[in-house]
Symmetry: D2
Subunit: 278 residues, 4 copies
Amino acid sequence: MNQYRILIDCADKKGLVFKISKLLFELELNILSNHEFVDSENQKFFMRSVVEGNIEEVSLREKLLEVLDDKVNLHLVSPIKKNIVLMVTKESHCLGDILIRYEAGELDANIVGVVSNYDILGPLVQKFNIPFFCVSHLELSRDEHEAKVLECLAQFKDIDYIVLAKYMRILTPTFVEAYKTKIVNIHHSFLPSFIGANPYKQAHERGVKIIGATAHFVTNDLDEGPIISQDVINVKHDHSWKDMQRSGRDVEKITLSRALKLVLEDRIFVHKNKTVIF
Amino acid sequence: MNQYRILIDCADKKGLVFKISKLLFELELNILSNHEFVDSENQKFFMRSVVEGNIEEVSLREKLLEVLDDKVNLHLVSPIKKNIVLMVTKESHCLGDILIRYEAGELDANIVGVVSNYDILGPLVQKFNIPFFCVSHLELSRDEHEAKVLECLAQFKDIDYIVLAKYMRILTPTFVEAYKTKIVNIHHSFLPSFIGANPYKQAHERGVKIIGATAHFVTNDLDEGPIISQDVINVKHDHSWKDMQRSGRDVEKITLSRALKLVLEDRIFVHKNKTVIF
Amino acid sequence: MNQYRILIDCADKKGLVFKISKLLFELELNILSNHEFVDSENQKFFMRSVVEGNIEEVSLREKLLEVLDDKVNLHLVSPIKKNIVLMVTKESHCLGDILIRYEAGELDANIVGVVSNYDILGPLVQKFNIPFFCVSHLELSRDEHEAKVLECLAQFKDIDYIVLAKYMRILTPTFVEAYKTKIVNIHHSFLPSFIGANPYKQAHERGVKIIGATAHFVTNDLDEGPIISQDVINVKHDHSWKDMQRSGRDVEKITLSRALKLVLEDRIFVHKNKTVIF
Amino acid sequence: MNQYRILIDCADKKGLVFKISKLLFELELNILSNHEFVDSENQKFFMRSVVEGNIEEVSLREKLLEVLDDKVNLHLVSPIKKNIVLMVTKESHCLGDILIRYEAGELDANIVGVVSNYDILGPLVQKFNIPFFCVSHLELSRDEHEAKVLECLAQFKDIDYIVLAKYMRILTPTFVEAYKTKIVNIHHSFLPSFIGANPYKQAHERGVKIIGATAHFVTNDLDEGPIISQDVINVKHDHSWKDMQRSGRDVEKITLSRALKLVLEDRIFVHKNKTVIF
């Protein structure tokens, strides 16, 4: 028995569910889960089915394409482990959270490497027998540094996702284009508030009573990509910005790990600048 | 164009979605929303579709029953306002929250009456031109009192739901049987903690850091019916039990109103002692 | 026995707590609660004590001023009901929440009147026997309209606070100056995100997973005054902006009522653009 | 300059704050933070001050005892790192969360060792160069096993706290007595719900919409010690109990780490079966 995740999105029209469910029935597949959503404002249809049966992936894809339109986006995958690269700078909370899950066999991915612009987190990564690459940005222009990072990444043949686990440098459009819709970031703030540098200092100065974190896909608009997951925590007047940062770190790591799980389970559609998540 | 909510639950088997979606396609119905869930532990299938088209309810029901099994539970309704009765005792927060929504035209229901065992809330109810009935329990046995309440309720021909908006008396099996799966209660606690009397005093004595509220259908097990909705709020050592009660009231009213909305929109399946909510 | 709330804020220096507690001891006052906070960044000291004893307010004030510096802000009040005016436009959820609490005797205030730029909410207000004033803005310039509103407010001798319970017009600096630090607003958004018009539409377009509300004092920076209280609620891709608005209303009303309670209990200090809340 | 945390709790009576603040003033100490709380129900006074100055601990203790009653509990400590032992069984999420904070220098403690009744987590612990001790319970009676654990713990001279980071065995009164008020546990449930074995299965069967975790001091009543910290997360009908467990783990680890921080900063008073936390 093989298991597949079928993700379909297209312009909404009558009979779509019928056609697909007819095919799945004829192929004698078990439907393990099925989610549909119609974005009526944009007349878009989204569907995610997890099915099980005696059919090869090539064959299932062919059959699906037969009943579906040209203009349909079909994403068909087996639930196999994806390859991910983590990128970090100096802080270990998000990285550590992912490593502990990885070690426990809880993360449905292979961490093929960790890339950093500092060597600080090398010892932590190496404890888990994962290759660590320090690509320092010192004395390099942004473009020079990024070229080196891209070169470093090029050694991995199939990267499914790059996870920015507190990588504190801005990526250029070149980089984003090279890994389009494959980069997940955690923003240390409740977007769209406090975009940019030191959001905890900004939040503290504004006197907010709640701080948060946002995990999102990276696009060329700084901190403006499609949001995957958000969470918040209460703060009070007696929190310094350092305290806010410390509390914020817990929110950041849980929010990023939650987003990563959704990504690895192929639960997310991106449409325009938004996500549909089943 | 008519709109219908189709709720189906039955033993899970292959081809169900196909058969139903085939019918909906042939009847040229628009599918406005569609949710499915398979409870794999109990091998149960649940489906809720909202559809739109040129077909009469009788006819749609007939067609659906043709393609479905005998053993399928079909619940087919038009989105018309339901008739509800509210039952209260002395506290006004849940009642008031419902009345304000009602007045704003936000509540998809007709409040046909409010029944109480005290006359305290009469003036508030009457401001909103809703019939208020005081059925005092004083000097009556539990059975005698309930007989009178049932008599009072009998005057309303079609009661879809009875909402216990802080009605502080225990209902007997006779009552529960008479309005089976039609009674919604708000429990002033985070079930299954603190079942029974004065949960805020219990919570305070236990020194909890979070209190909550639970909206549920009423069954014959005291405070043990299927849970519809729950919410919580943080408390601290400097909250007296009165403070906890005051904070708790906000959670109670929002949780009950949220549950009521789900009920009125026919979004809830009850299976065993649990709910499936789309 | 008289009860007093003593609020003191000043530049931090050694011996302050000693001097004050010495006085309270000598006056044989019971200390019912006592909170202190030192903002070490700004070297500011904040203290709120609730005390009980046989002393007149004038006399207590005099004694306190004797031991305290000239540069100390002293706010001494008895826990008597404050006079508040509510200002609204068309939506009833915040207004209704306050009215229900008022009717239940839960609100420590006299609502002396409700002012609106529409007559829509008049019938609701009048149910509760509270004077309602419609000051239409139609065919008036902003300044003309505000002059009329100020004239309307002038009839109430002692207004302690003006509560903007979804008053959808921007106040001019003249108005804000006239009721400095006395105006509380509920912003239908999780500030500082989505400042300005229709934040739910903005939030929906941004695809956020959490929406919120912010209660704050009004200053001349639009939606930028000191934050009193904030809360949030989760949303999903299947929420339209209307759904977000509906969910948001529950957060708005609870957040505003919570802020109002803090205000009425004299629990808030405003320093720079932030609040210290005990 | 030395820094001290002064914790005082005693029967409430007039003049306490005055006496203490007088002493602190005379000793020319800076008060960095000061919290007081009167439990009026039990007539108990609690105070925590953090002070700074040129005085030795012995001397400060002496001076404080001079002005305070015999019946006062005085807890005076310097903010030095405490020694903690972690106890675990098979799950790594709580342990891992603590280790990552430890590695980052974020944890104000020395982890002197990790004790487990299985050897599974040994490799993880050893990555961080912390001694790991496996004391298997196999083929031993509860008492025999516990005697061996106590023997193992005896090698550490000064254990300030024992943290049960998912240690899945019940401690006997002998053990609890040996480390009275020094044992912190994380309960995989929102106490007092679902006491005992497999709470996620219990929660799933009850159909709850929220699950939680509780960190508490261990007393001889199973899962009934004073609560330090609690948190919750929403769940839905489509969460299996395994899913609930997975989500629950995030709540467990954050709740335990938060409680541990409060413990290590000497912020907690235990009175009767409750905590006062500043």
